[in-house]
Each structure stands twice: as structure tokens, then as C-alpha cells.
Amino acid sequence: MSQTKTESGSDSSSGDEAASAETETERVAFCRGGLKAGFVTCVPVALGVGAYGLVFGVLAREAGLSLLTAVVMSATVLAGAAQLIAVGLWDWPIPVVAVIGTTLVVNLRYLLMGASLRPWFTRLSSRQAYTSLFFMADENWALTIQDLRSGNGRGGFLLGSGLAIWVFWVVCTAIGGVAGSRIGDPETYGLGFVLTAIFLALLVSFWEGRESLIPWIVAAVVAASVDAVLPGRWYILAGGLAASLTEVTRNVR
């Protein structure tokens, strides 16, 4: 069972906690109790997600998405940062490659998050595991890892917490979308800056100390240069890949 420890960078758990979590991982059950615990634990977090959903709904309408499109996007994509970026890129005709390509690249981090659930989720049925994964977002992933590491063995926690996020995210997108079509000229409220502000605040949450600085400077320089010479949105992909390659080559040395 030593193969169960595969997740990267355990944040704060002491050796004892990690050891006990490992013995407990043998028992992971998918039951109603876990579902409910996940839902209830996540409600306060989901309220914050809901507020964010309101903003997304307003911005989606301003960008020219129909209310239905915005709500369907929230219900089926369920990835805040990617959806906001997509709305920022939205145009007519829709830049299909840029929107879907950027969504993919922004969400590549989910690969690692999903992989980190393996020690526990291999004990669920495929159907339980793959349904739960649809509802994985940054917020409830963090809560779930915390819960699973504590050894409760509640396999339904990710799904329960994910459902809480999904409900608030979708309903608030609809409310924001309805309100968004009625508020008149967005520039009066500085709405043009809202996305920039949200991206800046998100960026702070991706800051991992000084190691982040060099990849980010490289990304900024590459993005600005590519934007100056190439039409379209290639600068986004170029910046992301530049940061990624910088990080990799720096650590190889």
C-alpha cells in the first residue's frame, strides 16, 4: 500500500497524520453520509462561488453570450477561471480555436488534481469516480483532499461538495445574466476592468513565492512580443508555454 502516496507537496500534515491517513485509506466508502458531509461542508465556500457566479453571469451577457449559453456553460464546463477567460475572448464570429484551446490549457492543472485523488478513488467504482470528477473544481478539490487525508474514508465527499458548488454556480450565473442585460452601459461601473481585476486576484493565488517570478516575467515578455507581431490570441498560449518551459528548464540545470 505504499504506492498510495503519490500526491505532490503535502502542505502541512505531520508525519503522524500522514501515516494514519495512509492506514485509513484502505477503507473508502461511497455513501450518502459522505455526500451530505461534502455538501454541507462546502456550502460556505459555495456561497463565495455563487457571488463569483453573479459576476460571471453579468460579464457573459456583456460579452454577447445569450442567457442560455451562459447558463449551459456554467452547468457543463464548471471551471471558473477558464469560463471567465473564455468570456474575455468572446467575439463575433467566435474565435473557436482560441476559446477551446485556451480552456484546455488553463484547465491542464486539473490533470494533477485528479491524479492526486488516486490513492482513495481507486477504491470506488469507475462510475462513482468518473461522475465525481466532473464536479471537481479548485475549491472542493482542496476540501476533499483535506477530508480524505484526515482518514474519514468518505468517498462521496467530492461529489457532495461539487454538487454544492454546481448549484450555486449555475443558479447565480442565471441571476447575474438576467441582471446583466438590464444595467445599461457597462463602462459607467468600470465593468471593463472587472475581468482584469479578477485575473490579477487569481494570479495572486497562483503565486508560489519567488520561484514564480522568473517564469512570469518570461511569460509577460513573450506575450507582449507575440501580441505585437501576430494577430489573434496566440500570445496567450505563447505566454503560458513560455512560463511552463522556463520552469522546466530552470529545474533541470
Binding site: 503519490t6 505532490s8 457571488a51 463569483y52 453570450l65 445569450s66 442567457l67 442560455l68 449559453t69 456553460m73 457543463t76 464546463v77 471551471a79 477561471a81 474575455g88 467566435i94 477551446i100 485556451t102 480552456t103 484546455l104 488553463v106 484547465n107 491542464l108 492543472r109 486539473y110 494533477l112 485528479g114 491524479a115 485523488l117 488516486r118 470528477l133 466532473f134 468600470g190 476592468f193 472587472v194 482584469t196 481585476a197 490579477l200 486576484a201 487569481l202 494570479l203 495572486v204 493565488s205 503565486w207 514564480s212 517564469p215 512570469w216 511569460a219 506575450a223 501580441d227 500570445y235 505566454g239 503560458g240 512560463a243 511552463s244 522556463t246 520552469e247 522546466v248 529545474n251 533541470v252
Partner: protein, 106 residues
Amino acid sequence: MFGEVSLTALAVVFGMSIVTYATKAGGFWALDRVEPSQSVREGLDALPGGILVAILVVRLLEGGPSEWVAGIAVLAVAHRMESVLLSMVVGVCTLLIIRGSGASIV
């Protein structure tokens, strides 16, 4: 009530949902088959930040000095409070104040 619904837009949303689910389920699925190396992990880890930086640089270059000042306010609040929404509100208010009063300075 839904306004004009574009099938193209719905198709794009469908595409977004497919690639997103592929990332959410793909890591769990693939780890059975390949163990990602340390450098792959680090590379993937650095992607979202790099993408945000790229988007921000272009937006801020277009935005001009008043947005830069408001942006600094956002960073300051986000750094201390870790609340995306609060930082956004402070940033937007800062921008509106700058525009309302000293727009000629910047």
C-alpha cells in the same frame, strides 16, 4: 426570455465542456498508465499563472496608467485578504475614483 440563442455558441460551449472534463478525468485515468515525471508536474503547474500573466500584460498595456494604479490596489488587497471578490470591488472602485477625480493627472 433567453434572447437570441446561437447554435455555434452552444457548440463552442460543448467543446469547452469536453476538453474540461478530459482534464478533470484524464489525470486520474492516466496515472494508472504513466507516472508523470517531476519536470512534467512542474511544467503543468506553471501553466495557469503564465496564461494569466499573458492575458494581463496585453489587457494592462491597452488599459493605461489609471488601470495600472487600480491593478496595484487589486494586488495589495488580494495579497492580504485572499478574496477575489473583495479585491475586484476595491480595484473597480479605485479605477472609478481615478477616472472621476484626477483623470487628467494620469
